[in-house]
Subunit: 280 residues, 2 copies
């Protein structure tokens, strides 16, 4: 039996969100007592909240008295515009980039001082490392997508990141704030970033920014391959930059409502220029 | 000002879910008063719940005092196993099927008496109709994916559906229960289903079942094209059935834990046979 230490003033809304927040990639299936322990909510309260979440479809009952995230929550979450708008604009270009290069392609955006993977497509053969799977967060300082997103972030975000824990994932991870500042400035001038084995040994990532109609960076598109940067980058950078420009163009064809940088998927699709017609 | 009629006994958990449930594709961005009106929760309560959902990241504040679904809810929802497991197993085959046929491809599963689109890939040129976009629900009786899923559903589900409202979407929609029963039985024997302009005029959909390790149908993979069934089906059915078998095989390579039909994405990926290695 666990002894949860709930902050006494948490409201029912916060406890409900606490139950949902108990689930993560390493804990995708949990019993009521595991949820209680991870969310610091008493078991009886957890049980009551879980039952209501199950009735609505936010959780589903699995085997062994365990619960998982439910299909109805997934359905509602598809409406998240920061995900849906960028994804709708980027996915056709991601498919084509994967076909051309036979390499893994990913789409990401920044959430505070972390990157978050919005979509990814495995390359020709091996599956992507889980750092690049949908919904996963990644460190901005050790990745090419991250440095592209950082190059566009305001100085408050940059200062917070440089002042924090710049973990060394491999021997090659750049972790000195001064060197990072220079690299980020270089990324801004060059228009793309390269991480050469800085998150995972032997894995090269190249990334370019996606701009909205007002020029703001909304996300980054990345290409991932094994090998070394000296051989991988020359072949990959041309197709990658072309794909990033294509996505940016389809986003900037949208009416430039101030602050409405990420369009709804339906608007994005209907406004994106489409060449010849073939299928529905 | 709206006058919400809240059932007096709704708990805070149910009201919190009611706020999330106010959002749908046609209402992806809402003000507090619109949420209040759609969810039948008083404005002051709605405002209090919305503030807490924003703090956690389940909602995000947009322009014009509107709110949208937030990135953190999207992140948690990626853990939904009925979505994540099937998707991880199916996506490589979907990409290849789209490359081979240049046609739109979709992945779906059943939720009660409706189908739900888990993933879709536009064809070569024109975007998919929104009926086939991720997270959208579709009628089982008027679609090929739906009839594949129905062929595998137990008789309670079939009886409920045949006794309900079988809407005619086009002149070709099959809506007589007896004819549907025959078509569904035919689908079961034939191993695939065809909808020829039954949901949208001029749009042909062909679908085949995806089986888990225990033989249960976990979902359907569909191919969508314009034209008529007589020209579209002969070319498409071979590649479609091959793709469905490939996905089923990768799902059945998983350990057959009873009831654990849909594997976690990580397990699915690591167990899926991968031919030659090329990139990360």
């Amino acid at each position: 039996m666990t002894t949860p230490h709930a902050p006494p003033d948490r409201s029912v809304v916060e406890r409900t969100l606490g139950v949902l927040g108990a689930f993560d990639t390493a804990h995708a299936s949990l019993t009521v007592s595991q949820i209680s322990s991870r969310s610091h909510i008493p078991v009886a309260t957890t049980y009551r909240i879980v039952s209501k979440l199950v009735s609505w479809g936010a959780l589903e009952r699995a085997e062994d008295n365990k619960y998982t995230i439910g299909l109805r929550l997934w359905e509602v979450s598809q409406l998240a515009p920061r995900h849906a708008g960028l994804r709708a604009a980027a996915v056709p270009a991601m498919f084509d980039l994967r076909s051309t290069t036979r390499r893994a392609v990913l789409l990401s955006t920044r959430d505070g001082t972390e990157g978050i993977c919005l979509e990814s497509v495995s390359g020709n053969a091996r599956p992507l490392h889980r750092s690049w799977s949908r919904g996963h967060r990644f460190p901005l300082h050790a990745t090419a997508c991250g440095r592209v997103l950082l190059a566009a972030a305001d100085t408050t975000v940059q200062d917070e990141l440089y002042g924090g824990d710049l973990r060394r994932y491999t021997e090659r991870t750049v972790h000195a704030p001064a060197v990072l500042r220079d690299l980020v400035a270089h990324t801004r001038r060059q228009g793309y970033a390269v991480s050469d084995g800085e998150l995972l040994n032997g894995v090269v990532e190249i990334a370019a920014p996606i701009h909205g109609g007002d020029g703001a960076v909304l996300g980054a598109i990345g290409l991932i391959t094994v090998g070394t940067a000296s051989t991988a980058v020359p072949d990959a950078v041309g197709p990658l930059l072309a794909a990033a420009r294509r996505v940016s163009r389809s986003l900037s064809d949208l009416p430039a409502a101030p602050g409405d940088a990420v369009p709804s998927p339906r608007t994005a699709r209907s406004r994106t220029p489409r060449p010849q017609g073939a299928c529905a």
